[in-house]
């Protein structure tokens, strides 16, 4: 048994079960934490993050792509982009990893109950939002209408697209996909709109007075989507942004993730747009 105080500092042991490639540089890794971690990890709220250790590489903050399974299995969608994630992509199934967390704030699920939820994901931003989406779909009776708008640069970079289409086909949510540009795809393949997310949002009519919006994507996306959502009538306190920073420690000490006087690892990574307005470097 680990001492409780050490839980936040010392990773639990974990094993890489398998991986599923989602695009040329992104894959979904299923990770099984040691049994003693399950109680801690079961506190996960969609939007929170864990610190994933890859031995020999280091630690990276990752927001799980779904809630932990009953056996504690975590799904982590990771792009190969730095030395730790590169090493993870080379790690064979069965290898040892480490997990700390969950850390930070998640989406305010209690507050969102009964309300329509609009999820806006750009690129890899679908990963953190997928855990929220899965939670919403599993508890549909407790939320209003669920809409996902997902934009990627081009069709082959769209993650989970078959899976998302299958979920939408069941009738639980409205799904809008868009790509920045569409090179030729084989006939009969997946179809989606061409254009940027804010454009898609402009033509969308929804109950803005009651809707909660959850946004995650590349840095450039937040500003224009927040502006567009506010123009549509979504209050800044109901626009929830999941931000990316390089959390080194995850527990408010290393100071790499500060935005203004807030720390992404403690006050975020899910912020209300209204709370970020005075912070020039936030978005």
């Amino acid at each position: 048994m680990k001492e409780h105080a050490l839980d936040m500092n010392t990773p639990f042991a974990a094993t890489l079960l398998d991986r599923r490639d989602l695009s040329a540089d992104s894959a979904l890794f299923r990770v099984a934490p040691e049994v003693s971690a399950l109680q801690t990890l079961s506190r996960f709220i969609p939007g929170q993050f864990v610190q994933l250790s890859v031995p020999g590489g280091g630690e990276v903050p990752i927001s799980p792509a779904d809630l932990p399974g009953e056996d504690g299995t975590l799904e982590l969608c990771v792009r190969r982009v730095g030395h730790v994630t590169e090493l993870l992509h080379q790690t064979p199934a069965g290898a040892s990893l480490g997990i700390r967390g969950p850390f930070g704030t998640g989406f305010p699920l209690e507050e969102m109950a009964g309300r329509p939820v609009l999820l806006l994901a750009g690129g890899l931003g679908i990963a953190p939002l997928r855990s929220l989406l899965m939670h919403l779909l599993r508890n549909q009776d407790r939320f209003g209408e669920i809409t996902l708008m997902y934009g990627a640069r081009q069709p082959k970079l769209m993650l989970f697209r078959e899976e998302l289409a299958a979920l939408a086909a069941k009738g639980g949510m409205r799904l809008f996909l868009t790509v920045d540009f569409a090179p030729e795809e084989p006939a009969g393949s997946f179809s989606c709109a061409v254009g940027l997310l804010p454009e898609l949002l402009k033509g969308f009519s929804f109950d803005a007075e009651r809707t909660y919006a959850a946004v995650c994507g590349p840095p450039a996306l937040y500003r224009c989507l927040t502006a567009e959502l506010e123009r549509a009538g979504v209050g800044a306190e109901r626009i929830l942004l999941s931000l990316e920073r390089r959390m080194r420690c995850g527990i408010g000490r290393c100071c790499h993730c500060a935005l203004g006087q807030k720390l992404c690892c403690l006050d975020g990574p899910v912020f209300r747009a209204g709370d970020l307005k005075q912070i020039p470097e936030a978005l």
Partner: protein, 324 residues
């Protein structure tokens, strides 16, 4: 009122008594002329006339590079540094304040095991000081928590005790101490620093542009700051398997500090300067609103382009000019 008093002539013997409780460290001057806290192999190495050491005592609590974790065969465990008992003698009140702040950060609601280990083995013996042109502490505060504190008087030191550890040491040295009437403390005027209010005026101040135009992002101000503690984490695998995770001082003046995959949130020097001083004077969660500058003057002393923070602080104090 009477208090324990240590005569100048007995200081050396007092230091020898301190040695009974651990390794004695204190202010010294190196061969190259740099003031530093280091082991006092010989009591004569002690330089009580020092103004400020280049590196503050934070190095005893957060070493520049430190092992925090080990891992092997899929298991991770905390490193517990093997540190001796250290008696750090001759710490000025500003540096005691710095340690008090670090205690809040590292021993607060999420205690750091490595820091806690080192802190538990560090005995703080403070000493009063005389400010120079670089100092800007208020000088009127009660010193931060210490074990023993020596206030310089004519012919010796008034000895204050504020911990069990301190009592034990004072007890062992009781033959060297006499009771003497306490003298009136002289309060010196200083440029005291308080949390900047309103904060917006702080962040929008035009002086930032002036500072950013000359700042070379060397990071010296942060290295020398008694309350700058931000760190980076690195991992070193061993060839035979397993490995070690280290943390080392990082510096928010460096351009890499605000990097994330594919972006950087503090690209300009102005962004980074403002970031550092927002942290320093206004605080981050969970110490928001708390000023961590202790007025030691190191940042101004070491700045190669003479950036003087007091300019900024003074300008923030002035009322905003009314718009015509």
């Amino acid at each position: 009122m009477e208090k324990a008093f240590l005569k100048n002539t007995l200081l050396s013997e007092f230091l020898e008594t301190l040695r009974l409780f651990g390794e004695l460290h204190g202010p010294t001057v190196s061969d190259t002329g740099v003031a530093a806290f280091s082991p006092l192999d010989h009591t004569s190495d002690l330089r009580l006339d020092y103004q400020r050491t280049q590196i503050p005592p934070k190095k005893y609590l957060i070493p520049f590079r430190e092992e925090i974790l080990h891992y092997s065969e899929g298991n991770y465990w905390q490193n517990h540094p093997q540190v001796p008992e250290i008696i750090l003698f001759g710490i000025h009140p500003c540096d005691l304040d710095g340690i008090a702040y670090l205690d809040r950060v590292f021993l607060g609601d999420r205690p750091d095991p490595c820091y806690a280990d080192r802190r538990a083995r560090l005995t703080l013996v403070g000493i009063s000081c005389e400010p120079d042109d670089f100092c800007f502490c208020s000088g009127s505060r009660e010193p931060a928590p210490f074990d023993l504190f020596l206030t310089a008087r004519e012919e010796g030191y008034e000895v204050s005790v504020s911990s069990v550890k301190g009592e034990t040491i004072a007890d062992a040295a009781k033959d060297l101490l006499v009771l003497a009437p306490t003298a009136e403390s002289s309060r010196r005027a200083g440029c005291s620093i308080t949390a900047q209010d309103p904060q917006l005026r702080f962040s929008d101040n035009p002086l930032w542009e002036k500072f950013a135009a000359t700042c070379v992002s060397c990071g010296a101000c942060s290295v020398c700051c008694p309350t700058c503690y931000c760190f980076d984490v690195r991992e070193y695998p061993a060839l035979a398997g397993g490995g070690t995770r280290l943390r080392e001082w990082d510096n928010c003046l460096f351009v890499t500090h605000g990097e994330v995959a594919g972006a950087n949130f503090r690209v300009s020097r102005l962004d980074r300067l403002r970031y550092r001083f927002l942290h320093k004077y206004c605080g981050f969660t969970p110490l928001q609103g708390m000023t961590s500058c202790v007025g030691c003057g190191r940042c101004k002393k070491v700045c190669p382009v003479d950036i003087d923070l007091r300019e900024l602080i003074e300008s923030c104090r002035k009322p905003t000019p009314e718009r015509p």
